[in-house]
């Protein structure tokens, strides 16, 4: 057992920190904005070019696909430093973490050639089209169809809650190619250019930070066969892998810890940080952020050793939700009505934390999986 990064990874972290201190010097602290807000998205467009130029957008990808061939820890350090500053890559963290890697693993040479370079250059936004009005937690109930027509597929259906769809160029989309009775065995992944005729994006007004939800309506959307990723009807396996990445790919505890530091500054200035009751809440929230961090590290250690993803990721994800909620609650408890002011140090965190246990696999789903796969409790 050893709880220190290798020398190379430590050196990478300190280079990266120096770089970010310079690049983000201009008062960049966006923790007052919600994740997914326009501020991030706009900023990310230029910022990722700078990152890409340093080779730090996709450092963990294999060199043949524009990566730096670096290990899992370097990838993770990168993510952690980004989230510690509020995630200046905006939605592009998804491209880098799981969209690209899925294409690398399951894509054809043609797909790789077409789709990967724009990601490594930081030129495209992707979104994730999984959820549907009748398929949230029970994702395998999805109904959006993709029917073969000669060399093409024709897509019909509706997606919902699709973050960034209003800005994205592509959607990593799940559709049913088999029958509904096939359940998980009849689902395929499509790499859908959103500018294809028949795709309509509508905004949904939400209040989880400045996060914009969208609906995606697909009406006779005709795409060539090469939009299919991997084999037909084998999409569920891809998704399982994809979600394994997504669950811990975003070090949300690092952002929660950033907000907590901001709240500590606020409380210090307000003369509250010496109050024992306030201190106790801070101690609790900080401990939950740290617990989430070590549990995520444990998963990264597995990944670095190229082991199959284990159910430990579910514990890590649940711990992140606990941390995000604790920081959000603290903000409202200690700041009083000041917390309600838009862009107060805790405003975005509280509203984000309401969605923390819902997006990317709900909290209850994590608990179900822990019961079954770790504690081995009998099925209901």
């Amino acid at each position: 057992m050893e709880f220190a990064l290798s020398e190379a990874d430590t050196a990478f972290r300190s280079d990266l920190v120096g770089f970010l201190d310079r690049e983000l010097a201009d008062g960049w602290n966006r923790s007052e904005h919600g994740l997914g807000s326009a501020v991030y998205t706009d900023f990310s467009r230029d910022f990722v070019h700078t990152l890409a130029a340093k080779g730090w957008l996709t450092p963990h990808w294999p060199p043949e696909y524009g990566g730096g061939g670096q290990g899992a820890w370097q990838h993770f350090v990168l993510g952690e430093e980004m989230w510690k500053r509020g995630e200046p890559r905006g939605p592009q963290y998804m491209n880098v973490n799981w969209v690209g890697p899925s294409v690398i693993k399951y894509g054809t040479e043609e797909q790789k050639k077409e789709l990967l370079p724009p990601i490594t250059r930081g030129e495209v936004f992707w979104c994730q089209g999984f959820s549907e009005p009748e398929a949230g937690t029970d994702l395998a109930a999805l109904r959006t169809r993709a029917d073969r027509d000669g060399e093409d597929y024709v897509l019909n259906g509706q997606k919902i809650w699709t973050s960034y769809a209003n800005e994205a160029d592509y959607c990593f989309l799940l559709a049913r190619t088999g029958s509904v009775s096939d359940g998980r065995n009849g689902i395929s992944v499509f790499l859908l250019p959103l500018r294809t005729p028949g795709v309509e994006v509508r905004r949904i007004d939400g209040f989880v930070g400045e996060h914009s939800f969208n609906e995606l309506f697909l009406t006779d959307v005709r795409v060539p066969g090469n939009c299919l990723l991997g084999e037909e009807n084998k999409g569920w396996d891809i998704v399982r892998r994809t979600l394994a990445y997504e669950r811990v790919g975003a070090p949300r505890y690092a952002r929660a810890a950033l907000v907590l530091d901001g709240l500590a500054d606020w409380c210090r200035a307000a003369g509250l940080l010496t109050d024992p009751g306030v201190q106790e809440q801070f101690g609790n929230a900080r401990a939950l952020c740290e617990a989430a961090r070590v549990l995520v590290y444990r998963v990264i250690d597995e990944r670095a050793k190229a082991k199959e993803p284990s159910p430990m990721a579910y514990q890590a994800r649940a711990a992140m939700v606990q941390a995000e909620r604790a920081v959000g609650d603290l903000a409202l408890d200690v700041m009083g009505s000041e917390a309600l002011a838009e862009q107060s140090p805790g405003d975005a965190q509280f509203r984000n934390s309401l969605g923390a246990g819902i997006a990317a696999g709900s909290y209850e789903v994590q608990l179900n999986l822990i019961s079954r796969l770790i504690l081995k409790l009998p099925k209901e």
Binding site: F3, Q279, I374, P378
Partner: protein
């Protein structure tokens, strides 16, 4: 970064396991409890096998000593593992024979093995103090919580070097975490097993989602405790890492105590069932160093450099 046990760690813990098989475990714990006794035999064996020297040993160190404290506690070894394996070595002091008392102030409340203790370490403002104890100075306190307790009156302690109070508290915190971790894991495993074995309404108790979720949440907390504790030991018990670990550990201890007893029903409240061997002793750890709230405040004073209230 490496979350797996090394060969050395595995070998060390295997050897410790063999020793504890003979000198610890629920059965022996029950026998000793009847007599209200400290396990001198276990201490002698641990000393002879070198476990009291692990902290400062080349090839091993504080993390290995912490793992040993965890395992001794999981197996209910009736000694004072935290001073012997962690705090005294961290202060460069030899471990005397017999129990050692850790106190966060002079004239502490009831302490474990107080009647038999030979030595007391007291946290001072900056320097920690060490004093001999004699059985005449101890006043036994009847208690249902597993450990023989006594109030002790220390003679004027000899002050150690400047800064030793912080070192002592930090390692004490890590030690309390390791003890609690070992005990909590045992209590938790017992409860999960009960949930699988017990049938209600024609199905396993543990098949009800309401209970599954509570057990799963405890498992998340417990794993957090595990890795925060190991990491704090690895980092040499810095003020912040040890306070963070202790905060999380004590919060988990509160929750785990409630859940394990709720889910094992009435049988878990009997002396016949083993659960209490761990859960009652855990409450003694809960009370140390001012408890959860004090640990949480210590997180703030170390992380955000605020003076203690």
């Amino acid at each position: 970064m490496d979350f797996e046990r090394s060969d050395t760690q595995r070998a060390l813990l295997d050897a410790l396991g063999t020793l504890l098989n003979r000198h610890a475990g629920p059965q022996r714990c029950r026998e000793l409890t009847e007599r209200g006794a400290y396990d001198h035999e276990l201490e002698t064996e641990l000393r002879a096998a070198g476990f009291l020297d692990v902290f400062g040993e080349a090839g091993a160190g504080p993390l290995e000593a912490t793992l040993a404290v965890e395992q001794i506690s999981a197996e209910l070894g009736a000694i004072t593992p935290v001073p012997h394996l962690l705090v005294l070595p961290a202060l460069g002091l030899p471990a005397p024979e017999g129990p050692v008392v850790l106190a966060d102030r002079e004239g502490p409340g009831p302490v474990r093995y107080g009647s038999e203790a030979r030595q007391i370490l007291v946290v001072g403002a900056d320097r920690c103090g060490v004093a001999e104890l004699s059985p005449d100075d101890a006043e036994p306190v009847p208690s249902a919580y597993g450990y023989p307790l006594a109030r002790v009156v220390a003679r004027r302690p000899d002050d150690l070097a400047p800064g030793t109070s912080q070192t002592m508290m930090n390692w004490w915190r890590v030690g309390a975490c390791a003890e609690a971790l070992g005990m909590m894991q045992s209590a938790f495993d017992l409860t999960v097993q009960y949930a699988k074995d017990r049938t209600v309404f024609g199905r396993a108790l543990g098949s009800f989602q309401a209970l599954q979720h509570r057990l799963s949440e405890v498992s998340v907390l417990l794993e957090g405790v595990r890795w925060l504790t190991y990491e704090a030991a690895f980092r040499g018990a810095t003020a912040e890492s040890s306070a963070v670990a202790a905060s999380h550990t004590m919060a988990t201890l509160h929750r785990l105590t409630r859940e394990t007893h709720q889910i094992t029903g009435a049988v878990g409240l009997t002396r016949e069932h083993d659960l209490h061997l761990w859960t009652l002793r855990l409450q003694a750890i809960r009370a140390e160093l001012g408890g959860l709230r004090a640990h949480q405040r210590a997180v703030v004073t170390s992380r955000w450099e605020v003076t203690a209230a």
